[in-house]
Amino acid sequence: MRPTGIEALRAIQTALTEVIGPELQTAFAQDTQQTLQMLLESVIAEMDSAASDLLEDNGTLSSLLEDFRAAVSANANNRELSGAIEEIDESLARPDPGSFAISELAARNEELRAALEKAVRALEGVGDDPGYESLAPVRMAMYRHLRDVAGRGWSFWDAASFREYMMKHRSERTG
């Protein structure tokens, strides 16, 4: 098989380290080279699983939004909550892209995340006020998803400030 996209990016990284890096004279140029390495690393980390992650996320988001709509129907008199429902209905009514193109999956993901943003804000608006207890599990499920997304891939923080934190986070995720 010819080199994959990831292998091609690795070749660029190797060239930056072994060929271009040693030729760089200034601290600023060397620093920029390191930034490029990290930028490539972050792209590589999400490249292979990008389509499947988006596909899975879009399913999870739709399901979370459905759960939110069902839970909110009991609190229809709250304006912010019912306002969020309108946007959610619009998002859910739009068809899935029916394509595995990352651009289309990402566009759908953005629509669903916009609706989720609205829902999260509405939920934070009522907080743990009496009468809204039934919304707590929905809120926690939304954050669970957001935590899964935020903990993915590679980040430059993982080797420094978030080192022990990410070790713990990953061990909790893998059980």
Binding site: T35, V120, M142, Y143, L146, A150, W157, R163, Y165
Partner: protein, 337 residues
């Protein structure tokens, strides 16, 4: 650029001497302003004078749009109050010398700022405790500058004790609303959460550095903090805002829980209260840590906006704006969700 700098220095130095300029180099970091170092040499009263200068020039686009005159003036006031900062020389608001506005300050040699060196170079191990003590002492010195000091009038109206937190929420909410390129459920949720979980009123209103952390001080291998840098976000507010910012995980660097990579949290709180008389309310610090992580994420969002709008082609802006997911994790931890 070296020639332009030589011409500029010639116009500014007493007696308009001939100025020889050498070793112009851009210093890495400082994503909100370009930092250039230069060696200058000239004759003054028959004596040869050598001095290093730092030029802080506005970038083509930034992770955060800030006013260079605010930074310049705040540093001058801080210096008068005994806070270690470089001597400030000149402020140029136009682009006639270096194409963009800039200011010039003293270069302090023999120091390190990089957290990698200050925290991980064995030369600094024996003085880490001393750096920690100084880290607190300098912060206390900054917080001794009262918001009502007439010299700080350029910072605008003084917030009330009750309004400090809400003012900062509004500030970052507004920037996020302006610069977000995509939905931000965690950041928006955190903003709503903060409005419902405001800290107790500030105990006093002071000059807040707003970027007080390891990585922003110049330190000698003997453990002396010679200067506090990067004052571009300085404002009037709750001193615990700086305490919270200093505590956030991104600035712990060592991958463990040590604050600033220097000391245990309880020790930091104890020393700070001893030095300032300000009680460290843990709930308040938690609030300010949520705000701190959010603020850093929003700064990265702004960098992404500059990149996508074509105002910069900086790889750093593209990189940072793709890399704040870990901050979201930390925010959600602090919100306990």
């Amino acid at each position: 650029m070296q020639t332009a700098i030589a011409d500029y220095l010639k116009s500014k130095l007493p007696g308009s001497p001939d100025v020889a300029v050498a070793n112009l180099r851009r210093i890495p970091g400082g994503a909100s302003r370009e930092t250039w170092s230069v060696d200058a040499e000239w004759e003054e009263d028959g004596q040869s004078v050598s001095r290093g200068f730092i030029f802080r020039r506005d970038p083509d686009a930034s992770v955060l749009e800030t006013e260079r005159d605010i930074e310049f003036q705040v540093m001058e006031v801080a210096r008068k109050h005994g806070v270690p900062v470089p001597r400030m020389y000149w402020l140029e608001q136009g682009g006639e010398w270096l194409e963009r506005p800039f200011f010039v300050m003293e270069r302090i040699d023999g120091c390190e700022a990089s957290p990698t060196i200050v925290l991980m170079d064995p030369r600094f191990y024996p003085v880490r405790e001393k750096i920690g003590e100084q880290f607190v002492e300098v912060l206390a010195r900054i917080h001794s500058i009262d918001a009502d000091d007439p010299e700080l009038a350029f910072l605008g109206p003084v917030p009330t004790l009750e309004s400090c937190a809400a003012t900062e929420i509004d500030r970052w909410d507004e920037i996020l609303a302006r610069d977000a390129l995509e939905p931000q459920p965690v950041l928006r949720g955190a903003l709503s959460w903060m409005r419902r979980n405001l800290p107790p009123p500030a105990q006093r209103v002071v000059l807040v550095h707003a970027d007080y952390r390891t990585g922003n001080y110049l330190c000698t291998p003997e453990g002396e903090i010679m200067a506090m840098l990067d004052w571009e976000m300085a404002h009037l507010g709750d001193p615990l805002e700086d305490v919270g910012w200093a505590c956030i995980r991104p600035w712990r660097w060592m991958g463990n829980e040590l604050i600033g990579g220097l000391m245990e949290r309880a020790e930091f709180y104890r020393m700070y209260t001893e030095a300032t008389g300000v009680n460290v309310n843990e709930q308040a610090v938690r609030f300010w840590e949520v705000l701190g992580n959010l603020k850093l994420a929003v700064i990265f969002v702004t960098g992404g906006r500059s990149f996508c709008d074509g105002r910069t082609h900086s790889a750093m802006m593209a990189f940072l704006s793709r890399n704040f997911a870990r901050l979201e994790l930390e925010i959600m931890d602090l919100m306990e969700v």
